[in-house]
């Protein structure tokens, strides 16, 4: 994102960060206030929208029936894609947003999808299996950036976590074909009351630490991001395990600084996770009351 800043403004940002008082009044390790709204896309199995300051992203989960991945008959599949809409910035017009979209998609895939064996994925892939070796759920997780004011990756991870916990999979009745020789015959339950939820308590959130000058901050705005020398995005789940790591930016980081950043990310993520959980719960309750 191109942010035109004068030398004085740059100084102000760097100086504020140095004394732990940023231009919007936050400390170095404080997130902006955010609100989560779930079930925003009626056609999707699960969806959520998060407004984090001026950053606005939507995530949706669509489930389709598919065949299990080769070599892992008792697993389901997940796919993550991010799109940057030109509504967020005119630079994203045409193919302009593709590079950033790809960058964000890759970072999220690293943190959510686990290794090549499917181990360490955000959702237990075995829970997506329906008939071993024959039938499973394929989850398409799509992120859409509508408005951008920094920290897109963290916002997308929160939106995807919320969308996954909002996701309902319809019940599948297997009529016949559970033995290995037969093709399975199934029926999707038409009853909207019959659905199952995903186990999402261990889905991570990403906390990005942006290094400006000597210090690093969480939840940087677009102005602050323009001043960064390096950034480290750490995906942490509720247990405190690091699920993925991405470093961006040109400058190299000292190993001790890196380890320090990871421990800060772990600490920040725990309070963030509890805020996210309560926001998701609040939104779900709101929707249930409306019905």
């Amino acid at each position: 994102m191109v942010v035109g800043l004068s030398a004085a403004e740059k100084n102000y940002i760097a100086g504020g960060i140095a004394v732990d008082l940023r231009s919007d009044g936050r400390g170095r390790h404080h997130f902006r206030e955010f609100s989560i709204d779930t079930s925003v896309v009626p056609q999707a199995n699960g969806s959520a929208r998060i407004c984090l300051g001026g950053t606005d992203v939507v995530a949706s989960v669509k489930a389709e029936l598919s065949t299990p991945p080769s070599g892992r008959p008792n697993h389901g599949k997940m796919e993550i894609n991010v799109e940057c809409s030109p509504t967020a910035a005119p630079e994203f017009e045409g193919r302009g947003g593709e590079e950033l979209s790809m960058d964000l998609s890759r970072a999220l895939q690293r943190s959510f999808l686990g290794g090549a064996s499917g181990a360490g994925a955000a959702i237990d892939l075995a829970s997506l299996s329906i008939v071993e070796g024959k039938l499973c759920w394929m989850l398409y997780i799509d992120g859409l950036v509508l408005s951008s004011d920094g920290n897109l990756l963290d916002a997308l991870s929160i939106a995807m976590k919320a969308a996954l916990s909002n996701c309902g999979l319809p019940k599948v009745d297997i009529i016949s074909g559970t033995s290995p020789e037969e093709e399975p015959d199934y029926e999707l339950s038409g009853n909207p009351e019959e659905f199952s939820r995903l186990e999402t308590s261990l889905v991570p959130v990403i906390v990005t630490l942006t290094k400006v000058g000597k210090h690093y901050i969480v939840d940087a705005t677009a102005e602050e991001e323009s001043q960064m020398t390096a950034a480290v995005s750490v995906a942490v789940n509720k247990k405190g395990s690091v699920c993925g790591l991405t470093k961006r930016g040109g400058t190299g980081l000292d190993t001790s600084v890196l380890l320090d950043m990871i421990s800060v990310a772990k600490r920040v993520s725990q309070s963030l996770l509890s805020t996210v959980d309560s926001e998701i719960l609040a939104s779900e309750t709101r929707h249930n009351e409306e019905l």
């Binding site: 001026g54 894609n81 030109p86 509504t87 859409l144 408005s147």
Partner: protein, 244 residues
């Protein structure tokens, strides 16, 4: 397929001459110069305007009028079955062009020479009538950006199914095989700016469908005016009482 029950109710419970529920919000993207969401039933579109600003590509600059550009895109989750649409597909290109031409007709481009206005429309949910919804959202976003216009431009679609003219088709009715007519007009000037129809109908029926769509558009115009009025009132209140 029966699109009208014997009682005269449509698949979604509306009567033949009924619009879907309209909803709009102005100023949804902070960083943009103008933005709005517009909903017609389950169809939801967000439109964002950047400009008037310096022309990005110098050789496109026009010395006597503004350059208007438009890009239409569809979210991959906007349709019932998930589909990844490329930005350059034919439908998107055609729609970008249609929206650009329609909005260009409304903007007083001669007042903003050597500048560029970008309109980005993003479909969040598609349930028929996206064309009309995009134009309505773009009008609101342009008004929010304070860009001078001849008149607001409003749009509505109508069709002809089971020998009955039907207003504001949803996706099921849209794919029902009947004609689909989209009209965009200037309500005050009483002029039509966009008219598109596929399939064929007798000329006398066309007149009925056309006047129904125009009537629908006028209702939308009333709604858009109220939305803008309310938004402006809110802005005025936020600014505080006038100082003398």
């Amino acid at each position: 397929m029966d699109f009208l029950s014997p009682e005269g109710l449509r698949l979604d419970g509306r009567r033949a001459l009924e619009l879907r529920q309209l909803q709009a919000e102005v100023g949804v993207v902070e960083k943009a110069d103008g933005s709005a969401t517009f909903e017609m039933g389950n169809t939801k579109v967000i439109a964002v305007v950047y400009g008037p600003r310096e022309v990005q590509n110098r050789n496109q600059q026009q010395h006597d009028q503004a350059l208007v550009r438009c890009e239409y895109s569809m979210a991959s989750f906007s349709t019932g079955d998930r589909r990844r649409r490329g930005k350059g597909d034919r439908r998107a290109t055609e729609l970008s062009l249609v929206i650009r031409q329609t909005m260009e007709a409304a903007i007083l481009t001669n007042l903003l020479p050597r500048s560029q206005i970008d309109i980005f429309v993003q479909v969040l949910q598609a349930d028929g009538g996206t064309r009309a919804c995009c134009i309505n959202a773009a009008t609101l976003a342009l008004a929010d950006a304070g860009i001078p216009m001849r008149d607001i431009i409003v749009s509505c679609a109508a069709g002809y199914l089971n020998s009955t003219p039907i207003l504001d088709l949803n996706y099921l009715e849209d794919s029902g095989g009947g004609p689909d007519l989209t009209v965009a007009l200037f309500p005050k000037l009483n002029k039509v700016s966009l008219l598109q129809m596929d399939s064929k109908i007798p000329i006398d029926v066309f007149e009925k469908v056309m006047s129904l769509a125009s009537e629908g558009a006028r209702t939308v115009a009333q709604f858009i005016k109220e939305t803008l009025m309310e938004n402006t009132t809110q802005l005025a209140l936020a600014k505080g009482p006038p100082k003398f």
